[in-house]
């Protein structure tokens, strides 16, 4: 949402740390329009990874705004003076309305407060050009796969991926598969089905029998906070190693002390959530492993150790010009890295600059 708003809104924080004055009490000379200052040619329109890290930096310096200091101003005062309220309402009215619903503040009068937030995971299941995974007949589309959106470390549009896959690719590749593959007749008596079904039933039974003291949400939040701090906007070798040590501890806590009430015979949302959090624990571990292995900064993957002298992402194409595909080798076993080299014939990857 902030991306379109940044066309006209200006981002700033107070120059002073912990300045608790209302925004309209802070004069122009006491404001730091830090994106305009750091990136004079792109200004407020730098891409989201750069804008997010810059917001995190000023908040980490103690210059963030709002009750908890985790926020920066997105200010439309100048745009309203320049173009008039009617024009701003026409362009952004519904976004302003969304903001008002959440905060009960009027963004036509006071600057919005924004902060970067995690909202989906980049990367996904490996697929071929027909969107089929390594399991014959299992197609993976949208955000769940690693084709356009997932393979792009700047993040793209999840809707674009869903549309492109669903409208333009799958109708051809999936029907081609169904028309050409020789499929044996199978029934639920098949040993693979039986085995999977009993594994699933055991897992459900196990989750319901723990009857510990922690809610699923509290463990989910603990894991989320660990990932936010160490595998989020800024990563480091020591932070990732810490996370890799902590995740098994949280996993053990989950399987020993989670409290899932109710049964499996009726709708049980806590049970559904518990199954997901069990999976998130595995996924989180793999994400940290992947982030640790990639000793460069690249797009949204920003490693503290690898930055240019002026604090921008330092890429290393000599060593990391590949897609990391991690092969699942069984529960509880370490995944194996398969490198898919990226070969460029007409363009050369280069350092981005928004100065």
């Amino acid at each position: 949402m902030s991306e379109s708003l940044r066309n006209d809104g200006r981002i700033w924080v107070p120059v002073q740390e912990r300045d608790k004055r209302a925004p309209n009490q802070i004069s122009e000379s006491e404001r730091d329009y830090y994106l305009e200052r750091r990136y004079p040619s792109y200004g407020n329109l730098v891409p989201r990874d750069v804008a997010s890290r810059a917001a995190k930096e000023v908040c980490d310096e103690g210059r963030g705004v709002g009750e908890h200091g985790l926020g920066v101003y997105l200010d439309f005062a100048e745009a309203i003076t320049r173009s008039g309220v009617a024009m701003i309402r026409e362009k952004y009215g519904n976004l302003f309305e969304m903001y008002e619903r959440i905060t009960a503040e009027n963004p036509y009068e006071v600057p919005m407060r924004i902060y970067p937030a995690m909202h989906y995971t980049m990367g996904g299941l490996w697929v071929d050009y027909n969107l089929m995974s390594t399991i014959a007949g299992l197609f993976v589309i949208g955000e769940a796969n690693v084709s356009d959106h997932g393979a792009n470390r700047l993040g793209a549009s999840a809707l674009m991926q869903g549309l492109a896959d669903g409208y333009f690719i799958l109708p051809y590749t999936l029907s081609d598969y169904l028309a050409t593959a020789k499929l044996d007749q199978v029934s639920i008596d098949h040993p693979a089905f039986q085995q999977r079904e009993s594994q699933h039933a055991d897992r459900v039974k196990k989750l319901l029998s723990i009857k510990g003291k922690r809610t699923v949400d509290s463990i989910h939040q603990e894991l989320g906070k660990l990932m936010w701090n160490h595998c989020g906007m800024v990563r480091s070798e020591s932070g990732l190693q810490h996370a890799l040590e902590q995740i098994p501890v949280i996993r053990e806590e989950f399987w020993r002390n989670v409290n899932v009430l109710g049964s499996e015979v009726e709708i049980n949302q806590a049970l559904e959530k518990a199954g997901r959090v069990a999976d998130f624990l595995e996924l989180a571990e793999l994400m940290c492993l992947d982030a640790l292995e990639r000793a460069e900064s690249c797009g949204c993957h920003f490693r503290e150790e690898f930055q240019t002298p002026d604090g921008e992402a330092q890429r290393d194409d000599e060593h990391f010009c590949y897609v990391s595909a991690w092969e699942y080798t069984g529960d509880g076993r370490t995944s194996v890295l398969r490198k898919e080299l990226l070969e460029f014939e007409y363009v050369t990857p280069s350092q981005r600059s928004y100065k």
Partner: protein, 144 residues
């Protein structure tokens, strides 16, 4: 904030339901309505009572899976606002809130505040066509 909730509890489609009164204490007024229900649920789980079941997915006003009757109005008091986009600043400390599932023959209650599943793809494709997805969320389509 301290609120009094009256929530429809119904264990399954075949069992009878009833309104149950809960105190929602120490609610941070910056929370969303669904976050307020999360807090109530954590309390219930601690007391050994099953949490209130309600549908939600993205909580960003995009997917169209949330929805309940709040004080007798679909999605609550704010116009053109999905339940997940309803936030606590629009309520007052001490308020009493009645929370019920949709009631219509087409959407039988399956549990607590959950009616029959809606086909997300339908709202999804509408959301794609509409630049601002809330607009597309008003009419979830049953899956048959």
């Amino acid at each position: 904030m301290h609120l009094t909730l009256h929530v429809w509890r119904q264990k399954s489609a075949s069992l009878k339901g009833k309104m149950v009164r809960y105190a929602a204490d120490d609610i941070n007024p910056d929370m969303s309505f669904l976050e307020m229900l999360d807090v109530v649920n954590w309390q219930l789980i601690e007391e050994g009572e099953e949490p209130i079941a309600f549908d939600h997915d993205c909580r960003e006003g995009i997917c169209g899976s949330c929805g309940m009757m709040i004080n007798g109005v679909a999605h609550g008091p704010r116009r053109a606002t999905a339940t997940c986009q309803l936030h606590m600043p629009h309520f007052k400390d001490g308020d009493t809130i009645y929370i019920e599932p949709w009631r219509s023959r087409a959407f039988p209650v399956l549990r607590d505040l959950i009616g029959i599943a809606v086909l997300l793809i339908e709202s999804f494709s509408l959301a794609v066509l509409s630049p601002f997805p809330q607009v597309a969320l008003r009419k979830p389509t049953p899956f048959w």
